[in-house]
């Protein structure tokens, strides 16, 4: 890191190799388009190179990098929005037939993930980052530069919208809770 800060371009390659995976995966969750995810991750890494001197060492590098990446992805999607459907138009997963249960389950999970992109922007990003950060509200709040309370409130609203769109998620949750209680 010292070498990078001193202007050694080649030393930056280590940072690129270390963080390329997480950034591409993060970008993928924002747009669900592999090619675009790589472009956005590249922008974020180039932005990191440009702004590395602004990184204050009291915070961890990853926190700074994810916050920068979130900003880059947000601006990129503002410039060229993803072509996505509205929540009402997001297809509802079909009930799983027993013989094709695994496939149907996989497809319905994918539809739920895609429906996240149909959420209003203010709710979409907390959801994307919350699950990217393995359900860590603090990390999500740091990446978004927002208070934890705001993130929690938006997450709750986003979850409510998704469950309203996919009522079977609620049914299965209730069933799971009932099983747990009985056990």
């Amino acid at each position: 890191m010292e070498r990078v800060l001193a202007g050694d371009v080649n030393a930056f390659e280590g940072i690129v190799r270390r963080w390329q995976g997480p950034l591409v995966n993060m970008a993928w969750r924002y747009c669900r388009d592999r090619g675009r995810a790589e472009e956005m991750a590249q922008e974020a890494l180039v932005g990191a190179w440009r702004g590395l001197k602004q990184w204050r060492r009291e915070g961890s590098f990853s926190t700074w990098l994810f916050a920068l990446a979130a900003n880059v992805f947000r601006s990129e999607l503002k410039r060229f929005p993803t072509v996505d459907v509205s929540m009402e138009d997001a297809p509802e997963p079909a009930r799983a037939a027993s013989q094709e249960k695994d496939l149907a389950e996989h497809q319905s999970s994918d539809l739920v993930r895609r429906a996240v992109l149909a959420l209003p922007v203010r709710y979409r990003e907390p959801v994307v980052l919350f699950y990217f950060h393995e359900m860590d509200v603090s990390a999500t709040a740091r990446s978004m530069g927002m208070p934890e309370g705001t993130v929690k409130a938006r997450l709750a609203r986003a979850r409510a919208l998704l469950k309203k769109r996919f009522p079977q998620l609620e049914d299965q949750q209730a069933a799971t809770e009932l099983t747990h209680k009985e056990a």
Binding site: G7, V9, F12, E13, V16, R17, Q20, G21, V24, N25, W28, R29, R34, A37, E38, A41, Q42, L45, V46, W49, R50, N71, R74, K78, S109, V112, R113, V116, V121, R122, V127, Y131, E134, M135, D136, V137, S138, M144, G145, M146, E148, R159, L162, K163, F166, L169, Q172, Q173, T176
Partner: protein, 126 residues
């Protein structure tokens, strides 16, 4: 704060279990190409503050002088208007008042628009 295991439901399970995407083989190389281009690009020419400062100071002084003069003229006009006010008929006064209200409403609208933009910019909603 991590969500507790008891609070996870099907939605959490679906959204937290994503397949890991592996960047394409040339990704790091293409990023490094961009970075090298950036590093090799000549630094932007700094703004010539030393040369521009006298001119900017002069322009600021000129603007200030104009503003003071305008204010003086405005005050004088207002005084003249208030002395002539008694002679204006009621219809004329109503028009002047409505113009004032329109100007005030436009000002308030502009302020609220600027405030809204500023707040949206801070929260990063759009």
């Amino acid at each position: 704060m991590k969500a507790s295991a008891t609070k996870t439901d099907k939605l959490d399970r679906i959204l937290s279990t994503e397949g890991e995407l592996v960047p394409s083989s040339g990704f790091a190389a293409s990023v490094m190409d961009r970075v090298r281009e950036e590093a090799a690009a000549p630094k932007p020419i700094p703004f010539p503050w030393k040369r521009a400062l006298p001119g900017m100071t002069l322009a600021a002084a000129g603007l200030g002088w104009c503003a003071v003069k305008l204010a003086q003229v405005g005050v004088a006009e207002m005084n003249a208007l208030s002395s002539a006010r008694l002679h204006l008929d009621a219809g004329m006064m109503r028009s002047v008042e409505s113009v004032g209200w329109v100007a005030a409403a436009l000002g308030v609208s502009l302020l609220s628009w600027l405030l809204a933009r500023r707040m949206i910019g801070r929260t990063g909603l759009v």
